[in-house]
């Protein structure tokens, strides 16, 4: 009996599927970043050297500008509106972390307005956002 040995093919991992996975991941991350979109107000951050990470899974950012304008999620608010927004956010998700992001040149009375609203709502833990000094 004649035995014909067939040439063995080298085993190969198909790499074409990797790009599909890569692009699926890419779309996923892009969508997630769209969901986490942040309405950034152009301010000059105050700086400090020793900071801690204050970000939580649920966050509410209150922006305080130099002229005392308060905004939440790109919406300009007064003290009463701010109180209702914070109250709604906390009643929906009690673990929401409230961040106060104030311009470094903001007079303290404007930051104090936010503090007073939070005190009125009996909300104790607050994150004062500061940029890391280089």
């Amino acid at each position: 009996m004649i035995r014909i040995s067939r040439p063995r093919k080298k085993p190969m991992i198909p790499m074409s599927s990797m790009s599909d996975i890569g692009f699926l991941l890419l779309i996923f991350i892009m969508l997630i970043s769209l969901i986490n979109q942040r309405h950034e107000v152009p301010i000059e951050y105050s700086e400090a050297t020793r900071l801690e990470k204050t970000q939580e899974s649920d966050n509410l950012e209150i922006w305080v500008e130099t002229n005392g304008r308060l905004s939440v999620d790109g919406q300009i608010v007064d003290d009463a509106k701010l109180e209702s927004i914070i109250a709604a956010a906390l009643s929906e998700k009690p673990a929401t972390r409230v961040h106060v992001i104030a311009d470094r040149k903001t007079p303290y009375r404007h930051v104090n307005r936010v503090v007073r609203v939070l005190q009125a709502l009996q909300h104790r833990t607050v994150s004062f956002v500061v940029k890391e000094a280089l």
Binding site: P14, S16, S46, E52, T54, Y108, R109, V126, S127
Partner: protein
Amino acid sequence: MIKLKERRKPDDPGDSGSLNDLSFLLIVFFIVIAGFNVNKGFLMDLPDASRPRIVQTADLLKCAISDSGEISLNGEITTMEALTESVLEKKRNNANMTFALTVSPGAEWQRVVDVIHEIRRLEVSNFSFKMGGEQS
């Protein structure tokens, strides 16, 4: 002349290698960009306005920031370095030291952050702050 037909090579599945690199580079880029939005700063417990704490005078260190940003300690104008020294000394003598900061309405937020940062660095556990002219 005999025409020999060239056998076509099957498409090499490994040809899209550069596409993989590109997509993974983009993923890394987006992950890095997402990391930029992380808030950092000071996590603070706000004082309870309705229930003021009673502190012994001996344990109290009163600090104030004026509209112009001047720091004063127990009524005397001081520097940040002198403030650090005073806090450390007070902490040595009074384990229950309370640092009470009064901020003038016009004081810049950066100045307040500077003092809070220093107090945090010195690990002062009892710290309260209020705006000047308010009831404590």
